[in-house]
Symmetry: C2
Subunit: 244 residues, 2 copies
Amino acid sequence: MAIRAPIVKLTAGRMTLTHETSHYLCRVLRLRAGDAFLAFDPEALLEADATITVASDSAAEITVSETRGAKVVADVPLVLVYALAKGDKVDAVVRDATELGATRVVVARTERAIVKADEAKAANKLDRFRRVAEQAARQSGRADPPKIEGVYDFAAALEAAKSDTQARYCLDVRGTVELGALLPAAITTRSGIAFAIGPEGGLTDREVEAARAHGFEIVTLGRFVLRTETVAAAVLGAVRVLSR
Amino acid sequence: MAIRAPIVKLTAGRMTLTHETSHYLCRVLRLRAGDAFLAFDPEALLEADATITVASDSAAEITVSETRGAKVVADVPLVLVYALAKGDKVDAVVRDATELGATRVVVARTERAIVKADEAKAANKLDRFRRVAEQAARQSGRADPPKIEGVYDFAAALEAAKSDTQARYCLDVRGTVELGALLPAAITTRSGIAFAIGPEGGLTDREVEAARAHGFEIVTLGRFVLRTETVAAAVLGAVRVLSR
């Protein structure tokens, strides 16, 4: 894997690195004059090939080639099955999921959901979720917004989530296993991961059985009761933090 | 540690357990008739002492003593230093932090924040954040809302966060180490953890230096640019998922 280093205000030509980046490249990674690395500007969302000209632990000098737009894409499948909910709750979840690297969001009808969308309304909602995902992807420097799918019945949504995932978790109060006991291993093996999250009113016994039948482990996040949008941000955030 | 099992619709007297909980207690944990455990109802937020009367992998029977309100408290210090921001962004972060088990939220003034609060306004804002925390704690079944502190200058906020934490991380684009490389070890050792998150406009060089001087590692969450409230939910969510 190429060495990547963050450089704010990245511009083509000669640059002197900050203390921190100099230390990282020349002390921690032991780069010498003539060594190349990939420089990226996390604010401007640019990247460029760069070469060390003067190695130093505190003020290394580099030359930077022409900058280009950073094409950052999500790599490992990360699928969220989320129950259709009232108001702009799903908008917020789609936005979080986009920033946190979800590759697909599958919107599901569930028995206890307060919202019942007919076909026409469902199509409108999906259009809106797609616009939210596109906007969030642009703002987070992500080249590929997550694919928005649905609105499917819960079992069909679970089925859709199976196609590119090997590790599947359904978050539910009935869970007796904590997600944290299973997730790190799934990330280490770079498995495609799916999370299914029910509506505010919870999943029915039948829906939990459907999740189990589709290969989802029924898991919990521990002791506090979370809103479903917080669950989404927490589990996708855990994947983001642990994926390296 | 006492064995805890989730039982929806927990009531005093005799109950038959679901297949899942029976399997967990009698097969996985090998409880026998006469064995005791702590039953809790994650929806009603009740708990009770319970005893197995008939062990079974699929339909165990138990007796349940009088139920009591579940007193669930956050145990390991988990401190969030968050920059004062416009509108109800901080409200949303306080709500998430409460659900995800933060023990303290320290609100900070930062150089690039858009909001400048004078003393009177700051006191009003803190009052509002406290009400949000209390309400979120009630809704999530948490006995102790996080302590809300501030509004402090950034350096003073970092100093305040030091008192009960051993592992400290400042999320910033300049970070060359990924949080995921450090966080699991901090959780395994049950260290008190502090996160410092700057404003939407980012921290200044001087503020990052202050974080480093206060023992915060400068870390990143990887490639996508996140809104500051998503960063808060992601890092606290990762702690929640990994803490067991």
